[in-house]
């Protein structure tokens, strides 16, 4: 096969790829807003489950520490009284895990909700199962003693989740500092 042939084949393949990309950009354009709305609604539902009866406002100007996995902070108030925060967290398990962590003003984790994950079904997925044995533990133990728990076979996923929750707790401490909490 000479150079000319290789280039011709490469160009032909590039043409197919370009056509497929064009089709996908149309579909993406049509579904983008619906997907974004759905993700927003799922986030809202998860927050109101973590902090029942609260209203949420997104905090701006959050002094995010370096290397934190927290991506957004929502302040939770019940009848005008500050209760705690919900943190959007994006951590690395085996793949990207998107979750929301609820933390009360005194630093207790109210729960962990998984919004998006593609951990290996049957292995890593055990760590991100909200009805499984691992995630509910966060609401029962403090973050340091949680370090001793792992889902066997899913150490990397568990560790990733622990890192995210611990970042959320740390940021909560930082934000409530000097507020008499």
């Amino acid at each position: 096969m000479n150079k000319k042939q290789i280039v011709a084949l490469g160009l032909r393949l590039a043409l197919f790829v370009a056509a497929v990309v064009a089709m996908l950009s149309v579909v993406n354009y049509l579904t983008r807003d619906t997907i974004a709305d759905r993700i927003r609604a799922e986030g809202e539902a998860a927050r109101s489950e973590l902090m029942q009866g609260c209203t949420f406002t997104e905090e701006t100007n959050v002094p995010f520490p370096e290397d934190t996995t927290v991506t957004a902070v929502y302040r939770a108030e019940k009848e005008g009284v500050f209760v705690g925060y919900c943190f959007d967290v994006s951590v690395k398990g085996y793949n990207e895990i998107g979750m929301i962590v609820g933390v009360t003003a005194d630093g207790n984790v109210t729960g962990v909700k998984i919004l998006s994950q593609t951990e290996t079904p049957g292995i890593g997925s055990k760590a991100v199962d909200e009805t499984g044995s691992y995630l509910p533990l966060f609401a029962k133990h403090d973050i340091d003693s949680m370090q001793q728990y792992f889902v066997s076979g899913a150490t990397i996923s568990s560790k990733g989740i622990w890192n995210g929750v611990s970042d959320a707790v740390a940021l909560c401490e930082l934000l409530t500092e000097g507020k008499g909490a």
Binding site: L9, V17, M23, L24, V27, I35, R38, P121, G122
Partner: protein
């Protein structure tokens, strides 16, 4: 395979897809996703529908383009076309049927590497006209869906006591967890394959 010269009729295409060349029971293609998602009928229908959609469209486009795709880069071209349609399915499911997208999860993007689709592209669509290729995609997709629904109905009924999410087993039935587990999936698949083979062999004996 043996009757390569048999005339291509609509009846044969559908008989191949549903029985004689059934992707799951006869060709044993796409076993990974078959065993993983066949724990509930809803998942089976969602997966079957997604695969059928991708099969029909990829067969159509590959058949239309079959004289434009140089044989040296055919596999790469097929994969680009298949991946394109799978991504469409993924985005549409995420936008409009999020619960299905969540329960099928990783297995939707993995349709790209499902060997049923590449096998039909290589062995059928690249050699036949668009209309038979579309019918072949539909027949193979239906065969895949029917097989998935049969497996998942058995697993959901005995492993969870429900069908399509509705409780059908009498109260007090304790679900056989084995049936839902991967081991149970293999056992049921094996038993069903044996049943289909027995049926086909018996029919052939009668014909001879």
């Amino acid at each position: 395979m043996k009757k390569e010269n048999e005339k291509l009729t609509v009846g044969k295409i559908f008989r191949d897809g549903l029985l004689d060349q059934n992707p799951i029971f006869v060709q044993l293609l796409g076993m990974c996703s078959t065993l993983a998602i066949s724990t509930s009928v809803i998942n089976a229908l969602g997966m079957g529908g997604s695969v059928t959609f991708v099969l029909i469209l990829s067969n159509l486009f590959i058949s239309v383009l079959r004289n434009l795709i140089p044989s040296k880069i055919r596999i790469a071209s097929y994969i680009v076309i298949i991946a394109g349609f799978v991504t469409v399915v993924d985005m549409v499911l995420q936008a409009y049927i999020p619960s299905l997208a969540a329960s099928l999860g990783l297995f939707i993007p993995l349709i790209v590497v499902n060997c049923i689709i590449l096998a039909r592209a290589e062995s059928f669509a690249s050699k036949n006209k668009p209309l038979p290729s579309v019918l072949d995609g539909l027949a193979m997709g239906l065969g895949f869906t029917v097989a998935l629904v049969i497996i998942s109905a058995i697993r959901e009924l005995f492993g969870n006591g429900t069908l399509l999410g509705f409780a059908v087993m009498p109260e007090g039935y304790s679900p056989a967890v084995l049936v839902i587990s991967p081991v149970g999936g293999f056992l049921i698949l094996g038993a069903l394959i044996a049943l289909v083979q027995w049926f086909r062999a018996r029919k052939k004996d009668k014909e001879d």
